[in-house]
Symmetry: D2
């Protein structure tokens, strides 16, 4: 059993505060007088570093507070009133954003998927079914890398999606709330530069990888860059002290901190997968990122629930359920070890 008075949380990757270097950066730079609303020296430096990191200086970078905010602003920018966005039925915008995209006036065309991933033929089918002005007109595709089910797109898959988008005049948008974990996956052949190459717009998630808050929106398609700060302002996303976001992204990307934190999260998940597999347990999806979905007997789940926090994702056959375990930059290896040891005892 884990040596702590409370349960240890594998609920999500935003339970703790920020990496200590982030806090230190906030403290170190606290006194300087800065321009407001994202035009401070830190935000400008963050943009510059991010451009270098992705090997593309010809992009626009805007820092916002949260993922739902990033997503709703993205589609407000991309879509004319009659246009829609295609997403997996498990996509964050389709399930967990309280109708944020529809609140800006747009339909999400959802496609039922098993592993959280959209295929080019999914996209083409939706486009083909929308052929006249009595229907919405699909204009964008939303994917997450990593997906909400922990899976990732390979470079070939992203390229194929990019192609089907280009062929059908669709923008490709990538939700990168967990982009760090996806890029650092042991199975990933995708680099940040690839993301910038395939997506018309995407965001690099800070909140779930070491920051207190903050997502870096990146616009690669010139058409979408125009007057984007108006969209930010209108949706309440321009922080007066944009420096708070800027400092954090400078710190995460001035060396490899961002990637190192993601590697740690993945390593902790991998250790969990290894331990679970060794005990003979199966998984609902094949994940090499920081979210895993093992299938456990309900009795075992009950026991584990005493000392560990996690979500029961869905019921499975024969008195089993799928649970979700999430690791992060902050996950303690001792907690992972304790979890596996407790699991072994009650299996």
């Amino acid at each position: 059993m884990l040596d702590c008075e409370n349960m240890y949380s594998f609920y999500n990757d935003y339970s703790e505060g920020a990496h200590s270097r982030i806090i230190e950066a906030l403290q170190r730079c606290n006194d300087s007088q800065e321009t407001g609303y994202g035009e401070d020296a830190f935000s400008l430096e963050a943009a510059s570093i991010l451009k270098t990191t992705m090997g593309n200086v010809d992009v626009d970078v805007h820092l916002v507070s949260a993922g739902t905010q990033a997503n709703l602003i993205a589609f407000t920018c991309m879509l004319r009133p009659h246009e829609s966005v295609i997403a997996a039925s498990t996509g964050h915008i389709a399930v967990h954003e309280a109708g944020a995209v529809e609140a800006t006036g747009h339909r999400i065309n959802t496609v039922a998927v098993i592993d959280g991933k959209l295929t080019p033929s999914d996209v083409q089918n939706v486009v083909d079914q929308h052929h006249d002005e009595h229907m919405v007109k699909p204009r964008a595709v939303f994917i997450s890398q990593a997906t909400e089910l922990g899976t990732i797109y390979s470079k070939a898959e992203l390229e194929a999606l990019s192609d089907v988008c280009k062929n059908n005049d669709l923008y490709l948008y990538i939700d990168g709330a967990r982009l760090g974990s996806a890029l650092m996956s042991s199975e990933s052949d995708v680099a940040l530069a690839d993301i910038a190459r395939f997506a018309d717009m995407f965001y690099i998630g800070g909140t779930k990888n070491g920051a207190l808050l903050g997502e870096a929106m990146v616009i690669t398609n010139p058409i979408l860059k125009k007057e984007f700060r108006y969209f930010l302002k209108q949706r309440g996303a321009l922080l007066a002290k944009g420096r708070v976001l800027g400092m954090q992204f400078v710190e995460l990307f001035r060396d490899d901190l961002y990637f190192d934190l993601a590697k740690h999260a993945n390593a902790m998940a991998e250790k969990l997968v290894g331990g679970l597999t060794a005990l003979g347990y199966a998984f609902a999806t094949r994940s090499t990122t920081n979210q895993i979905f093992p299938i456990l007997p309900n009795a075992v789940i009950e026991t584990l629930k005493i000392d560990y926090g996690f979500y029961i994702w869905s019921p499975a056959a024969d008195e089993h359920s799928t649970i979700r375990l999430v690791t992060s930059w902050a996950t303690k290896e001792t907690a992972v070890d304790a979890f596996l040891s407790d699991l072994k005892r009650c299996s």
Copy 2:
């Protein structure tokens, strides 16, 4: 002349980071595992402390990132599609929020004002002009305390506005971006409890009074409380790490820090007013808060611009202009002294 290599900024009250106690709090509480999206221990504690401070436990408190965000969510909640909000023509929602309220579907009925303040008869006039379904139906009143011109409403004025609202079935909403400065004004007879008594909804501004970011929305009218977290989520305002906001408000309100910081800002503004008055300068508005609007000769302004940052607000007669000087919790008295001394020299 101020002894620093750069100019000293009186541009606004969000140039610096956070008060040192805020940074320390973030560091101190960084490691605990917390529930996400505003249900963490710190946010709950902040709500509890704020209720005590305003002497009303029967309110709902929600912490958000920024003022425009607070305002747009407030009116999304208050107004049915055909309803509008009445505001001064100088009101923040009417000028400086990029149409955020209209983007949620609602008209702002603006009233031309001189000193930033709306009167009961302004409100009644707008209501009287809207009498059938060919027009929008005014349903809310927006005021700022302090206003965008540094002025404040007295308790009697707030009560009169509250009365005209009640008589016309209007919600009263108070934008408190600079509520601290207003409450601590030497001329104020208004307490936080009064704000909570007169307003149906309001927010207590953190960003402009010592926090890194954060505004505390307070809902006093029970009708407006229902399902409010949906509104927050849908507009992208629920931070995964809501703790960041919670911690800051705990720190600002667990003792009198919030009020002390506002007092300092006001004292610095008062010193500037005193110095300017002594030199014979007039002001565009009568302000006892942290924004002042002196009228200076253009030649003097040119000289001051070398070492000090401030906005030129509007042209005035005879080669004069109105400028805006803003002080804050972080304003250094040495900078104020230097400004006045430089001003004296070039006057």
Copy 3:
């Protein structure tokens, strides 16, 4: 072969103008001076007659121009910003209204169905899947009577839907674009009074049953009546000459014209069904209303296409396709006979 120079259209039920009595009524009442925007004597009389016809004087009646207009206004009225409407995946709002509901800010929760009909358990499932503020909150149910596939709900089915709605605090809305045909179906046990009893809001379709244009929205739930004319005005639905709509509904309902026209449409469809069945053809859905979906060999379809207009609905197995044949108040029996005779010849 039909004796006419052009093809005869079974494309839809809005190919012709209006029933001759409608045109006569427009002519007869053309000169009177009337109040505008739906407050004319004819609109008031239409409302009065409709209330009598449905045996409920405690409803509000508003006349609008078109079905999509009726639907989008209905949900604008029923739903707060975070609320959604549940509909069959084949529902008109989900497919053929160009995202009109989403353009007012609301998600449609679609449920895959086979026969166009939503069941109580469909509704309950959607409600159960939406349990917190990260998701939209279902607040209304949309059904069509008859459905887009020609099927109808029985009284028991409507009652069960009404019950599940009441149990879950959902409004029940019925799109009655083809309500006449549904009520007059040989298999229907539903009266107009039942529709008014079960639905919180619905509309009685005029356009597809003899009118030039016009749908009568009926609000039975008192909560939804308030300030409804504002919603009409704001969405452009208040015609200056509302008399045009009023006159038509007076004429359709001052005796049984509306029901007689629907009976004719159904009789024509029934004759087609009888002839097709006699020739051994099957149908994709079981319809006793004015839309039928026979499955024919593609070669036969090609031949029929020369002289008759109709939509090919979807491909079926073995070189067959489902086609849609629509009859109306205006369908000529000679055309039906000719169609069946031509079909027999080429089968």
Copy 4:
């Protein structure tokens, strides 16, 4: 006194039904089977005739039901989310459309005017006041020809407005609810071709000049033509029986009926102006169209109110009020004579 049992209405120009030729056309063409949703032979012919009439075949024509509908769809098409439209404070969209434009997400920047007319410097001032992303971005200008106060723009004035629009990247939109009356004004030097030359989009009002309902939207700017039918459908403006609109515009424009009807309306207004002037009365605005605004003693107004319907527009000095008298294609000269004679008696 007028020989009729009821009062005679000068309330507006939509009191009666349609010109008899319109009714006859509806009857004559009632039986043909037509394609739905605006693609019928009549709508196509109407578009063709209108293009010829305005001497420009390079425009798109779309027929809709009502003016508010036309206006809200126009700005939905023209404006990106952060963009606004400039209008006179008396403009129809700013006062009498229940916030229809805001409901699509856009601010109206209103300018106080005396005679209902916007000047180039009004427009330039608004543009100049909006300089960064904290504000909305003006992108269109709304004017009415004739204005809501009966006044008209000259060709030179329209050209100057067009110039200021072009210089500032603004679309010019003309609400032509009363375009017929404006073009036929004795003082007008503007032809329909001029309207088509200066406006990026406008509509030709049918409802107030002889039609039962219907406005012809004309798009001259190629950028605005793209996918416009989606906008119509999404806002509920595509009538299934678009023929109803098509037939009316064919009838109004296949010869000079539309212009003749407007001439009659103007002649009746002119006769009223002449009679009122002869009696020594003044007017609030100088109008040569079908709306006039005489200033009468309140006692006289009370007497006239017994036999004539009209709106009291606003109070004037010394126990006088401004009233609005509206004439139309249907106004009877005997009624005008009776009004003037009764006025003479009670003056």
